[in-house]
């Protein structure tokens, strides 16, 4: 589907941010911005950079992290020409979806018709619905900037992040707000105590507006990454689908989607206690780089050591799959891209993949990479994907 593409000189973007544009230039900029969300995204990045500076701050740490990531992408054995191992549909076969390969492959490839339909499936965006204590609803995605004084706090939203600033004054009763993230959405929330929460697609968080009393208690359904503000006197408790996590001040990820009967809690930093609601005798303490798994059907809790990056990569704009089944990968992807997935053959569900994908790529990019493995093909019908 050929789109009319306007080519803009960076000078216009630069002048818009650092100086002034004449009317003609403003029009041109608007036209270019409207042509693609990627254009808008680029503009936002430039704006952010000129206002706040670089995000690349701790050079040593960033380089170490990058080196780790790089090592998974290069082959260290002898110079074999077939670097990308293509296994048969065998038991545990790791297939590498290398993001880089696409960058270097010839751009003369014309995508198949089905692939270009898939290009129209866009990645998630910042979307959320806020429900106040009295039940009134505010759509944060369309309203852009929002400033409210309600339930004992000043509430501000700027399109990607919702912030609570506590108003001084004794709260007579605890008031709750609820933030609802739909499929294809994500949002950032800062609570009144300074705790920062990243919410993934299909997630609901219910939380008190003001933190008074002996504990800070929130309820989660879905997936969220928490950076809890330290307060040793007032523990932070997250309830999700029958699990309780008690925290003093720390960083962790909880994945608790109702359709799975497993709840995964991954600790990055600090210390947390995981327990099952109604079974106070079962308490598990996690230390960093540990992950707790609760099997809700059996009421059993277990723990393992993990590299947490895989489980929090979503908040850094990536999907990291480590020897994961296609079915589980598609479950994650379908929430973000808001699509339905069907399988022409049952055995496809158990194919395993390892890969590192960008969250903000169009779904078409993801499908292209899968196709390159020569193991999976697909058909696209609107928002329904059939794998075959």
């Amino acid at each position: 589907m050929p789109k009319e593409h306007t080519i803009i000189d960076f000078e216009i973007i630069w002048k818009k941010i650092n100086g002034n544009l004449i009317a003609q230039e403003e029009l041109f900029l608007s036209k270019w911005l409207d042509e693609s969300p990627l254009h808008r995204q680029y503009y936002e990045s430039a704006l952010r950079f000129y206002r706040e500076g670089s995000n690349f701050i701790d050079a040593k740490r960033e380089t170490e992290k990058a080196w780790k990531s790089l090592q998974t992408k290069i082959s260290k054995e002898g110079r074999s020409s077939s670097r990308w191992i293509v296994p048969s549909i065998a038991v545990v076969a790791a297939i590498f979806l290398i993001v880089d390969l696409i960058w270097f492959s010839s751009k003369t490839e014309t995508p198949a018709v089905t692939a270009s339909k898939a290009q129209q499936i866009k990645p998630g965006t910042n979307q959320a619905t806020l429900i106040l204590n009295d039940g009134s609803v505010h759509n944060l995605s369309t309203s852009g900037t929002l400033v409210l004084n309600a339930d004992g706090a000043e509430i501000k939203s700027r399109g990607t992040k919702l912030e609570y600033i506590e108003k001084i004054g004794a709260a007579t009763e605890i008031k709750y707000n609820t933030l609802n993230i739909p499929r294809g959405g994500e949002f950032n929330l800062q609570l009144a105590d300074g705790t920062n929460v990243w919410l993934n697609s299909e997630t609901v968080l219910r939380y008190p507006v003001q933190f008074t009393g002996k504990e800070r208690r929130v309820e989660l359904s879905g997936e969220a990454y928490f950076e809890v503000a330290k307060n040793e006197k007032v523990p932070f408790i997250v309830e999700s689908g029958g699990q309780m996590v008690k925290v003093l001040g720390t960083k962790f990820n909880i994945s608790s989607y109702k359709e799975n009967h497993f709840i995964y809690t991954t600790l990055v930093h600090g210390s947390i206690e995981v327990s099952i609601k109604g079974k106070p005798e079962i308490v598990q303490i996690l230390t960093p780089n540990e992950q707790s798994t609760i099997d809700m059907t059996e009421g059993k809790i277990s723990k393992s050591t993990v590299d947490p990056y895989q489980f929090i990569a979503w908040k850094e704009g990536r999907f990291v799959f480590q020897d994961q089944t296609l079915e589980s990968m598609m479950q994650t992807l379908s929430k973000w891209y808001d699509i339905e997935v069907a399988y022409a053959r049952e055995d496809l569900k158990n194919m395993r993949f390892t890969g590192n994908l960008r969250r903000y790529d169009d779904f078409g990019e993801v499908l292209n990479k899968l196709k390159k493995t020569n193991e999976v093909d697909f058909a696209v019908d609107n928002k329904k994907i059939t794998l075959k």
Binding site: I7, A66, I74, D100, G317
Partner: protein
């Protein structure tokens, strides 16, 4: 310009899959390259991807590459090309080299010695800076001196130098803004 023997040795080690040398090069150049890329693409994630891609390509294709320039130039040219490619796909071009200048200014080890045309542009803009700022700026971006050296030459603290450089960059942006406005109208 003939290659330094050190660079020839380094490239040969990469061709021979010397992981230690590769890692050393990566640790040494990565931050500078990402910051350079930020002058073009602003988004840290995107910049890191591009730089990492270049390192992967280097590792996987070393035997085939004809290295004719220094290691440093190879990396920076590759990053620049990668960024321009990315920008082409976003329908952005940069005829006034604003991005290149910004990218150079981002690098801590920047010295414009790579591109004579850019040097001219920067020199012209610098000539319009207040004298004191111009002095410090020249030492850093045209002569490639380190902060320590500049501090001892000018007999002022490194922190003061840093502040002066920041102010100089801001002023330089404003000057470039004026000059590009003129170009546009013409």
């Amino acid at each position: 310009m003939t290659m330094l023997i050190e660079d020839k040795i380094l490239f040969n080690e990469i061709k021979n899959r010397n992981l230690k040398v590769y890692e050393a090069l990566f640790s040494n150049y990565y931050p500078g390259l990402v910051r350079f890329a930020e002058g073009y693409l602003f988004d840290k994630q995107v910049c890191e991807d591009i730089v990492q891609n270049i390192f992967v390509y280097l590792w996987e294709n070393a035997e085939k590459i004809n290295f004719e320039v220094s290691v440093k130039a190879y990396f920076f040219q590759s990053v620049k090309n990668g960024c321009l490619n990315h920008l082409r796909n976003l329908q952005i071009r940069d005829r006034h080299n604003l991005m290149y200048i910004e990218a150079l200014l981002n690098r801590e080890d920047a010295d414009g010695s790579e591109d004579p045309e850019i040097i001219l542009q920067i020199r012209h803009a610098i000539s319009r800076l207040p004298e004191q700022m111009a002095g410090v700026f020249n030492l850093k971006y045209l002569e490639g001196k380190k902060l320590k050296e500049i501090a001892s030459i000018k007999q002022i603290s490194e922190n003061t130098i840093k502040t002066q450089l920041l102010r100089a960059k801001d002023k330089l942006r404003k000057i470039l803004l004026e000059t590009t406005t003129v170009k546009f109208i013409l």
